[in-house]
Symmetry: C2
């Protein structure tokens, strides 16, 4: 199901802030890639902006006025409101949408792709940790599309900073090296540098676990402690992330934690972002996390708060609570009323 | 040369901000350690404060009014103005003083110690990198005292935050494990946690190289870039630190860079500290580093700026410049007038 001209063809499913940014990069990069079709379909969940369809605005004004205002989109990006139409002829599918929508989109497109020829790259951060293990977006894609060539891209990046051409890095976690190299060609720019690593689940786990550590970083800020206390928490968090990962999958590599998806995304999440912010407010306002979610996130769940519980239940199931004093403390402070100042008690973590 | 009661005896050479903080910890910890003499001599470079000797002030008011005002020093710390008197009967020597004074102090005490029974712990960050390799404080101590049992302590800590009992960590790099365990007993508190690692030179290298990376972090701040650019620079810096270390010594361990002396000290130095600050001013004021040193450091050398040159000369000598694009860029921006915005060009670093 390649393009009629026998070239490979990219499509992108999702058109939010990050999706639109990714589409801009792809559209510029394909211009100089011989074997890739120059047109990129972008699936846009249709909505009306001042009475006008968002797809029409994008296809005429070449700007996503709702999710990435102020940045021109190259004209070779075609906004398509129908996901089946969007994936037509495409063998390179980029998925970037809120993860609660992923499953139904996968079911919709499945009859319209050729599994053996399709490569998917997921830009979605969304790992659900259960007492038995993990459900990752890459697995969801593999199972629902019946394909095995799924890569993920994750790292210390924010769509607007990339759109603004500030220097950022990211990590591609792959299962098929040749595909990773292709995704790298499609996505890399002088200001957006990519490293590839053969560790899909490691990259995905980093994206989930860093949010838990950011809760602790927010506690440190709320306690008005200095740079060194915060650096200590970030370090211990990194060590616990690296140490718990093999319990989820033997294949996780230690080196992944030194990639952008690991230490860099952790740092940036511990200095900015809403997990850190709400945890700080938890300390300074005395409000519960649920209250703070209501006030600041319209009742949406705070990712790090949710993942902290999932990680704890997993550790209980495996009988490894004692090996992860920071993860345990975060859970107990968030859910069992332990004093936030106790975060530093018993933080004795070995690297092994 | 143990104490007359056959107990081991600690002394501390140096009484600045960090030395005084260390003395307070030691003095409290020895109270509950059976085999350690309860009195701790602290060598104080004598000076007059409002006409009164600093040693007398410390021994009567139990406060170092000049270097750590506001914090009581336990009465079992005895300030001693003569370094030979200070080391008398001591077999556990802690050295914490500006590194330009170390050599003469070592020569002075050498006839008064028993090399085979003496353990030294250095709290000094000071590595000189030459085109041929490194001259570290631990080596200086070994050579000048003729001993081999030298450990070093380094990490993300600032004396005042430790004195203030904010949670901090540090790393003990050791050659003799039993000694490291003893130093850990002597120094650890609930708020000052120590890990021991069999890698003296690795710990010392981290303390030097992180200052070079902090120069790059300051550039990013000066360029008014966001959190992700900064996290990328910190990450690449960490990778280059880890990658260059084995060129100095085969014995360096990769895991050391995940200890407090590594990633944590790097983070804290890239968010605070004068290396970062002066590099930011370098960008925002357009002044040269030498000018900034004159204005802000009374002409004293900025450590990261100096080390950047030393590292570059070492890389040239070894023919490995191309493997370290960030270290190279920092040098060229500081010393060869390259545009600071070029810091992100060619930053393609592999972990191997």
């Amino acid at each position: 199901m390649m393009a009629h001209n026998n070239k490979e063809k990219v499509c992108i499913l999702g058109s939010g802030n990050w999706g639109t940014t990714a589409a801009r990069i792809l559209a510029n990069n394909v211009k100089s890639l011989d074997n890739i079709d120059k047109t990129i379909n972008m699936y846009v969940y249709e909505e009306l902006i001042d009475g006008k369809k968002l797809t029409e605005i994008i296809n005429t004004q070449h700007e996503n006025v709702k999710y990435l205002p102020g940045f021109k989109i190259p004209e070779n990006v075609i906004a398509v409101p129908d996901v089946v139409e969007a994936v037509k002829d495409a063998n390179l599918i980029v998925i970037v949408m809120p993860h609660q929508f992923v499953k139904s989109v996968l079911e919709t497109i499945k009859p319209h792709i050729i599994p053996s020829k399709t490569k998917v790259l997921s830009l979605i951060k969304g790992v659900v940790i259960t007492p038995k293990g993990t459900v990752t977006v890459s697995n969801l894609i593999k199972e629902n599309l019946g394909i095995h060539d799924v890569s993920v891209l994750s790292g210390a990046n924010i769509a607007n900073e990339i759109a603004d051409e500030q220097f950022c890095e990211s990590t591609i976690g792959y299962q098929v090296e040749e595909s990773a190299k292709l995704w790298q060609l499609l996505f890399e720019t002088p200001n957006f540098r990519l490293n590839c690593i053969n560790d899909v689940i490691g990259v995905e786990l980093c994206g989930a676990l860093k949010n838990v550590v950011a809760i602790a970083a927010g506690f440190v800020d709320g306690l008005k402690l200095g740079n060194n206390s915060k650096a200590a928490i970030i370090r211990i968090g990194l060590v616990e992330m690296r140490k718990i990962a093999p319990y989820f999958s033997d294949s996780v590599k230690g080196i992944t934690f030194l990639e952008s998806c690991g230490v860099a995304d952790l740092i940036t999440t511990c200095y900015g972002g809403r997990n850190r912010k709400l945890a700080e407010l938890f300390v300074t306002t005395g409000k519960s996390m649920q209250e703070l979610e209501k006030i600041h996130l319209n009742g949406q769940k705070l990712q790090g708060y949710l993942t902290a519980q999932e990680v704890y239940e997993f550790m209980v199931e495996r009988g490894i609570v004692d090996e992860f004093p920071l993860f345990t403390k975060i859970y107990k402070i968030c859910y069992e009323g332990e004093n936030v100042a106790s975060i530093f008690c018993d933080l004795k973590v070995s690297l092994l």
